[in-house]
């Protein structure tokens, strides 16, 4: 497992075991597959009445009905569903199958089919099929149960694939938003001739810190600034990594000929930084923005 996590592949892949391992986790054996296949003929035959019945059930829900524009669309979705359940009993459970299932999961997620709707529909299908198979195999109920239990395993494997897609999609959306947040440009304001103010807001990760340094240096050069006030009142968290980024930015500013003053450090954060071992030699700091600007102005004159 550790090698899977440590690999540098994108996260979605690195946490997901390969298909073989997944099948082992669900304890799906060759026997299960052949038993499920034994149900293929029956499932094929019963699929239509089950799906008709299911749509009667589904369309009695106002919320579910809203997913469908017209009868044409319902007919198309029914066809898709027929295929879906046929594959469940007959398909080879290989990588291609997994990819296909995940694609279908994605379509559901985009269409706003909730996990409750999805799992509920699945349960309805398995339940209907179960009853019908038991009816037909009255002479050998033990075999009927073993066939259905094998199908049940595969169905759960199948459901897991779709639900993983839901989770991945949400995670991707969150990451996307975080990236957008971290790419928020940090404004560099000219307070007056030669004096710049940079209010830093949010999370200062490495990517953003690099951008910040570049922006500050460019503006110092363009505006021939002699002092820079870096205000971090709005930074969510300050630890040694963030402190390191700030120190680098301020040191670089000084190399460009501008004095940097850091403001907005709360008392608690300041104490914590000192205990961690961040030293403030060579750093001009001020408790609040007002004071910081005053210090900067003094330094410019001096």
């Amino acid at each position: 497992m550790s090698d899977i996590i440590a690999s540098s592949a994108p996260r979605a892949d690195r946490l997901r075991p390969a298909t073989d391992e997944q099948l082992r986790w669900f304890d799906i054996t060759e026997t299960d597959r052949s038993r499920a296949e034994a149900l293929a003929a029956t499932a094929d035959e019963l699929a239509e009445p089950i799906i008709e019945d299911f749509y009667r059930h589904l369309l009695s829900f106002e919320g579910a009905r809203r997913h469908f524009r017209d009868d044409d669309q319902i007919a198309r979705v029914k066809q898709g569903q027929l295929r879906y359940f046929r594959e469940l009993v007959a398909a080879a459970l290989d990588d291609e199958y997994v990819a296909n299932r995940r694609r279908i999961g994605l379509i559901h997620e985009r269409a706003g089919v909730t996990p409750t709707l999805y799992v509920g529909a699945y349960a309805y299908y398995l339940h209907s099929l179960g009853h019908m198979v038991m009816d037909r195999m009255q002479d050998d109920p033990a075999r009927a149960v073993s066939l259905l239990l094998s199908l049940n395993k595969i169905a759960h494997f199948d459901m897991a694939l779709a639900l993983e897609t839901y989770v991945d999609t949400r995670e991707a959306a969150i990451e996307q938003r975080e990236r957008e947040m971290s790419e928020l440009p940090t404004p560099v304001l000219q307070l007056r001739d030669g004096l710049l103010l940079i209010p830093v807001v949010g999370t200062l990760d490495s990517f953003r810190a690099r951008n910040l340094t570049v922006r500050v240096l460019e503006r110092i050069r363009d505006l021939r600034a002699r002092a820079v006030v870096l205000d971090i009142t709005g930074v969510a968290a300050v630890d040694s990594a963030v402190a390191s980024h700030l120190i680098q930015t301020m040191t670089a500013a000084r190399l460009m000929g501008a004095t940097a003053v850091l403001t907005g450090l709360s008392a608690e954060v300041a104490q914590a930084l000192v205990k961690i071992g961040v030293t403030s030699e060579a750093l001009h700091t001020a408790g609040d923005l007002q004071h910081g600007i005053e210090i900067a102005e003094r330094l410019m004159e001096g």
Binding site: I5, A6, R11, T203, A237, S240, A241, A243, E268, K275
Partner: protein, 139 residues
Amino acid sequence: MSPPVLPAEQVLRIARDGDIVAARQAGRLMASEIGFSRPEQALIATAISELTRNIVSYAGTGRLSCRAVQQPRRIGLRIIAEDQGPGIPDLEAALRDGYSTGNSLGLGLPGTRRIMDDFDIRSAPGQGVTVTVTKWTSC
């Protein structure tokens, strides 16, 4: 002081920068529920920042758990950061100020040791890292 109702253990998955902020907030909240002062809460939040940032920077993914621990005369907050990453080949060096294999100040681990009361680290190359730290309420 009446015994406070101890908060339930929290386990968080750590995989990206956003998780560091979330872990920090969760830890700070728990510290305040246990009865730590505001400066102590900031110390704990900073320790969590350092530990989780190490996970994101060096291992990619890992977990952080926070729970209240009780002894006859004191209450504490125990934080366990663990990952399955490449591990630390030289623990002694990693605990020295200014030592870093990445591009950092090299204060994360030694700093965390300074601001917490108990500090334990276990690691071996290829075996991941487990850091267990505890801060006790002063009483």
